[in-house]
Symmetry: C2
Subunit: 560 residues, 2 copies
Amino acid sequence: MTQNKIVIGLDFGSTSVRVLTMHLRTGKVLNTVEQTYEEGENGVFLSKDNSLLARQKPADYVISMKKALKNTMLQNKALGIEMSSVSGIGVDATGSTPLPVTKEMIPLSDLNEFRNNVNAYAWMWKDHCSHAEAEFITKTSIENRPLYLDKIGGAYSSEWFWAKILKCRNTDKEVFDAAYTWLEFSDFIPAILTGCTDALTVKRNICAAGHKGLYNEEWGGFPDKEFIKKLHPDLLRILQTLPEQTFSVAETCGTLSKKWAEEFGMPEGIPVAMGILDAHAGAIGSGIKDGSLVKIIGTSTCDLVLANLHSGKSDIQGVASVAAESVLPGYYGVEAGQSAVGDILDWFIKVVLKNKQSHRELTQEAEKLKVGSSGLIVLDWNNGNRSILSDPMLSGLLLGQSLQTKDYEIYRALIESTAFGARTIVEDMERQGVVIHEIVNCGGITHKNAFFMQIYADVINKPMKIAASNETVALGAAIIGAHAACIAEGKPISFKTLQDRSCKILEKVYEPIAENVQTYNKLYALYKKLHDAFGIEGTKIEMFGVMKNLIQIKNKTAEK
Amino acid sequence: MTQNKIVIGLDFGSTSVRVLTMHLRTGKVLNTVEQTYEEGENGVFLSKDNSLLARQKPADYVISMKKALKNTMLQNKALGIEMSSVSGIGVDATGSTPLPVTKEMIPLSDLNEFRNNVNAYAWMWKDHCSHAEAEFITKTSIENRPLYLDKIGGAYSSEWFWAKILKCRNTDKEVFDAAYTWLEFSDFIPAILTGCTDALTVKRNICAAGHKGLYNEEWGGFPDKEFIKKLHPDLLRILQTLPEQTFSVAETCGTLSKKWAEEFGMPEGIPVAMGILDAHAGAIGSGIKDGSLVKIIGTSTCDLVLANLHSGKSDIQGVASVAAESVLPGYYGVEAGQSAVGDILDWFIKVVLKNKQSHRELTQEAEKLKVGSSGLIVLDWNNGNRSILSDPMLSGLLLGQSLQTKDYEIYRALIESTAFGARTIVEDMERQGVVIHEIVNCGGITHKNAFFMQIYADVINKPMKIAASNETVALGAAIIGAHAACIAEGKPISFKTLQDRSCKILEKVYEPIAENVQTYNKLYALYKKLHDAFGIEGTKIEMFGVMKNLIQIKNKTAEK
């Protein structure tokens, strides 16, 4: 019977939920079902008047999960897999995506009075309405709790928990007052699955709390009352609903409730693991270990590194944040990221070129170019800069265009700019003593686009490995579920063993090409000059040579 | 009989020759014929391997002129206008467009041995092959003849006479050795029409010589032997073929030869005026007078201002050049310019957008935008910067793009950047005491694009007048022909009187809109910051605020 045990990974992304069924003992993926969210535009409520707004309906999460589980049940049945064999569930979700709930765990958006008020919905990570509040929190931290900033790369982000709640307080007091507390999406789902009906008792995951909610054991958990009062006295009421302790994925949130068990034919009482942010699940599913940098490359990019809890690497500047055990127990999770990668390429193709050229067509031309031959350089800041500058109030820059500059030359320069951005993160981590033995990439683009990955290898001058799974995030959630299942069975097993079973690397590793590395080093020096000049306050650098150097590099390339 | 006298203006542009027939006494335009050059691509020989190269065949000029005159003859006949009534001819041509000839005035490209050698053709103004030679001439001037630089805006250009001849010496000695001398296109045509068969006797126009050939009476004409020897000893041979004196359009080159007179039914012996550069003819045809800035706006832009010979304005920094009587007698001609204006818009549409959007479509969307709402700023340097930086080794810059930035927002920012570039010229001239009472614009875009002209009015904060003629250049040539005709008749008449008869201004004047001016002043401050940082050696300015300021301006616009 044990031989047939399976586990379920539930992966709540930005536009859909995936259910991954994994064989417990072998770690083999048996089935994956995806269900897109149905409300709003691709699951997201946007605003015509406010391009910063991005909300989702918690009910949509739950309905989509039910559809996906139903489908999983049917598909598994057809495959001869019984849902009664499910022995553990892992969950990941986007974040910081906080949502307001009543004491009884009802999302405010389920109440008639707030049904059409987007402020009562889940505030997606990519909702930047609270940029002023984020700046205010940063300012308040600088003045009162500078140590907070050491864990979050020097600035609080509009993507995060407190900024969003404060924004709600400042602009929609009715919603704020009606909320008993706010839950991270990654805590809401496990709580629902375990049948929790008291919001005060929800177990919160250390990943979202640590990276986004200013939770840190070094200062006794969530921020103190005095600090929160300085943000807004009304926030004290929310602070009182937050627990003293948070938990890593090595812990369970609780057990599957009777209602959910019956509805999908799963055993009641199986463990539901603590939730985790989706990128962090992706790192687990990519086989992250001490010394690996995992890059989850998509519309934006998330970079995760583990640092041993005894390494003293709890303060790393310029990365998005450092949190104890946010990925795996025993390690700090060091998280950095780039706010736009695939999004920049999509912007160029969809918005500027209006889809008259495709990624494929532009790639075909762009890959024929010699490194440096376009004379172009780009700052990849169309959506601000997450790491290493932590500044959303930055924008894109394209430099070096002549009257002959082609669309595909710009396209290549955009890809290169994201690789330069990635290199700033790697260099900044290494400068601070983080050891990077290998870089493992995951995400759709890493499987589909060899041209893209070769540029990354050449620019960063390190081999680029690719996670074999194209569902590393859902796989990570399933591994977390498996870990919980083994504990419940009384046969605990390490994450490393579970990862070794499931997480493979593609045979194809992109190795740096010496000649390209040489030219990219020159281009990166120019990128870094622009990066520092436009991104670091107080910097005064002579810019005069930048265009001339690009023309020289271009001319030299032409001579070859 | 005098009542029916007519004059002919011959305007040799970059891709075609125009023949304009004007009534002598009334200044009325009677007929215009255009003939495109037939060889190469749109009349221009390009090189696959060298994007800097642009050449034309002198024989193509002559053949095209003959076709155009033939056509003029036929059309005029149909209109009841007799070619026997032609009483004067004016000529303008592009430049600096030097071409090598034998002592007997045969263009080298007419010789069998050089028929297919583009180095023996006319080297078009926009041929930049000689950029290294131009830098060398600048360097040699700085070290030996700094006063030269005061007249040419601080740097010698690859567009100009000596750089091109030196480049030929350095790369094709056979052609160089075969050439007795080099003639400017604007001297070649009048010489041909007057039947000149000795290249040593060709009268050279002060406009091309002064602006492009380093001719200045202040240092005794063309550069001295010592200086030319420093450029290259072999150039001394060419220097010896250059005259001591050059002439303005108030003088004649000679009289129409029997051959040309007979071929087109014109009277033998009528005056052929001295040639002039095309932009300068355009200024005359736009009614330039003391205090007018005439902007000839096309693929690039040429700015011309007159300064009284007694004004002491012979040294003006940062403009392309200052030459005595290069436009009209009694005045310095002060010439500045922008190396790409229409060309930048064409680049975006043709090369980047591959013609999937038209100027009209983008304009329709762009004109709905509020000033500052795109958050974008552009440096208009895709083809380098002619004025006020005199630096071809610069390139374009686009800054401020987000993931929402639209194609038409970029298009508008490109137009605005050319207006900012135009403003730097106006401000730099005014700073040096050049008085600008009015700005008169001419060129196709000024008639066709109200949106473009309004941006110029708002950015420069001065009314924009438009020359009524859409053939101001050919009209200028005809006015020069008329001036010569009147002298030949013994009834001299001033250029001002001739201009008053022919040069009208459109009723529609674009007035600055106060609200737009205010925002553009803010944007211009950012443009200027980028301009100085990237364009002026040794400048160190903090760039950190630029992106933030643009976002602030954008947000403020959104609030309105």
